[in-house]
Each structure stands twice: as C-alpha cells, then as structure tokens.
C-alpha cells in the first residue's frame, strides 16, 4: 500500500464508475448525426440484390467498438436483401468477420452461398485490392471453406469491382485509406466505412473530398445507426459507459488543473 499513488486512485475511480454503469445496464437515446443518416440513406438506396463487399480490416483488440458498428451495418444490409461478399485484409479480421456475417445472417434467414459468402483472408492488402479489380475469382479462387468461388451462386456474374455496388471497410486503422487509394481512385469503386472513433478524423479529409462516400464512427455512430434501423445492439448498450468515462476524464482534467493552479499559488505566495 505504501506505493499507492494518485494515479492508482484515478484508475480505481474509473474502474468502479464503469463497472457500476455497466452493472446498472440499459441504453441511451442519441441524436442521429447527418453523417450517420447519410450512411443509412446510402445503404437504403441501393437496389435489392446489390452486391456489397464487406472488408474486415481490423484486429481483435478493437472488437468491443467494432462489433456494434459491423453488426448494425450488416443488419441493415441483410434487411435490404443485399448480397454480401466478405473478405479480410487482416488475418484477425478473418475469424471475426465470418462470425459476424454468419450470426447476423441467421437473424434474417439468409443462406450462405446465396445471400452472403466469405472469401477469407488475403495477405498483402495493396496487392489484394489491386488484384480484385482485375478478377475476384483469381484473387480468391476458393472461399473460406475451400469451395471454389465459381460454385457459389452469389458469385455468378461477380467478376470484379464493376459488379460491386460498394465496399464497406470495417476498420480500426488505416486500411480504409488503401481501399480509397487503390479501389476508389484507380477503379472508381464506391467506398463506405465503419471505423473506430479514434480514426474518424483521419478519414474526414477523404469524406469531404467525396473519395469516401460515407462513414460512421465509434460506439456513438453504432448507437445512432441502431436507432435508425430500429434494432438495439451493443452501440446503445455501450453508450452509458462511454458517456460516464468521458465525463470522468473531463472531471480529471478539471481536478488536475485546480490542483496545479492551487500549488502554483501556494508556491508564489
């Protein structure tokens, strides 16, 4: 106990606060931002049966934030009868991606091979993105389960990006940039994204230039999207904990500044 310092108290305070808020549970209503509305309108406006490529470009570490975003977007896409082609540009996204697609597909009675497929992981993301522009089948000759892509009913007539309405990059890092740089700019592929809150400002310039069609970010973006599709999920459930932790950080900033200001006054006196 003799090594107990003020930072340990700060850690303990945050832990107790989040634990209590999560134990109380519940969700919170949030106002839908224009950006989230734009994403909803975009997916809603795609004709039924449109092929949307979903790229799981994230690691396992960001799953608590990524899962609600991905689930909300996938639910909307399935509810609109869009055909989803899953890929992963990061190895960890492979296992997570398939589970997310499969679990949400079950909610809407969607069948593997007809309504969604998962092609798995391809190393070297730049090469993979460029290669799919020429031929998806040449890039992924088999799906995640070893079935030849040519035998999957959904993939009939889906040869390259010209047959894909949009690619949805679910990312916790800079992978969406590669979809923009190599998919959008070189091959005019429409890129939409669901990203972690920390990455939102990274993509703002691409959003403003129109190179990124639309984007939702962070737990709040997921919560807003869940409200739009009318299906509660992890975004809304996580918002109280996020709100509490943000307010806690703000209080810590205020407390730190007050303590610093008082110590400076004492020293000057």
């Amino acid at each position: 106990m003799k090594n107990f310092q003020s930072r340990h108290l700060v850690f303990l305070g945050l832990f107790v606060l989040i634990a209590v808020v999560m134990l109380i549970g519940g969700g919170s209503e949030v106002k839908v931002s224009p950006q989230t509305q734009k994403m909803y309108d975009f997916l809603d406006s795609l004709p039924r049966g449109s092929v949307v490529m979903v790229s799981f470009d994230h690691e396992a570490s960001s799953l608590p934030e990524i899962r609600p975003i991905a689930e909300a977007l996938l639910r909307h896409a399935y509810s609109r009868d869009q055909k989803l082609v899953g890929v992963a540009l990061m190895a960890e996204g492979t296992l997570i991606g398939y589970r997310l697609m499969e679990s949400t597909a079950r909610e809407y009675d969607k069948n593997y091979g007809e309504d969604f497929v998962f092609l798995g992981f391809k190393p070297q993301y730049v090469a993979a993105i460029l290669s799919m522009a020429e031929s998806i089948e040449a890039t992924f000759p088999e799906d995640y389960f070893g079935t030849p892509v040519g035998q999957l009913p959904l993939m009939e007539g889906v040869d390259n990006y010209q047959d894909v309405a949009a690619v949805m990059s679910i990312a916790d890092g800079s992978f969406t940039t590669h979809w923009i740089e190599y998919g959008r700019i070189r091959h005019n592929l429409t890129v939409i994204a669901g990203v972690t809150a920390a990455m939102v400002t990274t993509y703002d310039p691409y959003l403003a230039s129109g190179q990124l069609e639309t984007m939702i970010g962070g737990l709040r973006g997921a919560a807003e999207y869940e409200q739009l599709i009318g299906v509660p999920g992890g975004g809304g459930r996580g918002m109280p904990a996020q709100t509490a932790s943000h307010i806690y950080v703000l209080l810590m900033i205020v407390a730190g500044n007050v303590a610093w200001w008082m110590s400076r006054r004492k020293r000057d006196a």
């Binding site: 570490s61 296992l95 090469a127 709100t243 703000l250 500044n257």
Partner: protein, 206 residues
C-alpha cells in the same frame, strides 16, 4: 555486384510500375496483376524469415531467467495455434476458434482497454492550461469528448454542431497539411530509392 543487381531491379520495377499506373493498355493491367501475385509470393517467403527471427529472438532471450517464463509462453502460443488449426481446422467450435475467441480476443481487448486508464491518469496529471494555446486545446478536447457522449444534446443543442465545426475546419485543415506533407515526403523518398540515391534498404554501411 550484388548491390548493383538489386539497384537495377529496384530501378527497373520502380520505373515500370510508375508508368503502368498511367496506362490503360491491357498489357499494363496484366503486368499489374502479375506483380500483385508475385508480391504475395514474396510476402510468404518474408513470413518465413519473420517466423525464424521470432523463434531465434525468443530462444536467445529465454537464457535470462527473468525473461524465461514470458518467452516460453510466447513460443508455446506461437507453436500451438498453427498445430490447432492444422489438426482440427478453423471452423466454429474448433479448438483454434476456442483459443482465439476465449484467449486472444479478450487479452487483446484488455490491453487496448488499459488505454482508458492511462488516458484518465494523463488527463489528471498532464493536461494543464499553462498557456493560451494549451487552454484552447483543452477546451476543444472537452467539446469533442462531450460530443461523443450521450449527454451532448442534453447539455446544449449547439454542442454537436460545434464539435462538427472543429472536425471540419481546424482539425481537417491540420490533417490535410499533414497528408500533403506525407505525400510529398513519400514521393521524394520513392524517387531517391528508385534512382539509387537512398541505399539504406540494401543494408550494410556502404
């Protein structure tokens, strides 16, 4: 001689790949496809080098008794995952998936979540309004934090709009300046590598 061959290959590929980017000829597209495939093959070999390096580094470090338990866990984990995948596959419910979902995902999420504690601690100990610019940064951070919470609309109807303004103007202009700087830097470095001015990638001191 070896260095000259490497430099010549780098120069040749650099120029050809640069030119094919601007070409719409079918040959250029075929070349791009072929290079993309070779790229992945080269990556597979690079992975082998990485694996050997990882094992070598851990075995070497395990001679230190303090380090040994951690290094053993690293090597065992590293060896176990491919064995589980090769023997029982990657399907749902397989031992590989069990380890991935119940060990790797929670561990990685835990490490990532620890950031929240460090942020809270840093906000108390380091985020000081020492100057006008620091105060401005602090106020902007407070607005952004509140705008991403569920109480923003309750506090004020213009708070989300103000946060959007910060994102769309000051933040974005700074981000664009950084992106342009990175772009110019990448271009310069690429030219230096292609033309053989920058040779550190060849290794050695010459």
């Amino acid at each position: 001689m070896e260095r000259r061959i490497a430099l010549a290959v780098c120069f040749g590929f650099g120029i050809v790949m640069f030119l094919q980017y601007f070409s719409s000829l079918p040959e250029a597209r075929r070349l791009q496809q072929a290079v993309a495939e070779y790229w992945q093959i080269v990556f597979a070999f690079a992975l082998v080098v990485g694996i050997a390096g990882f094992v070598q580094a851990n075995v070497k470090a395990s001679k230190d008794s303090k380090e040994r338990p951690y290094r053993i866990v690293s090597v065992v984990g590293f060896a176990a995952m491919p064995i589980l995948a090769l023997v029982w596959g990657l399907k749902a419910g397989s031992p590989f998936m069990w380890v991935f979902e119940n060990i790797q995902v929670p561990m990685q999420s835990t490490v990532f979540a620890l950031l929240a504690f460090f942020v809270a601690s840093a906000s108390y100990r380091g985020f000081r309004a020492r100057s006008a610019s620091a105060t401005l940064l602090l106020v902007a951070a407070a607005i952004m934090l509140l705008s991403r919470s569920a109480v923003s609309e309750w506090l004020s109807s213009w708070l989300p709009d103000l946060a959007d303004w910060i994102r769309n103007y000051p933040s974005m202009s700074a981000r664009r300046a950084i992106l342009v700087g990175i772009g110019l830097g990448s271009l310069t470095t690429s030219l230096r590598v292609i033309l053989g001015v920058e040779r550190t990638w060849l290794g050695g001191s010459r």
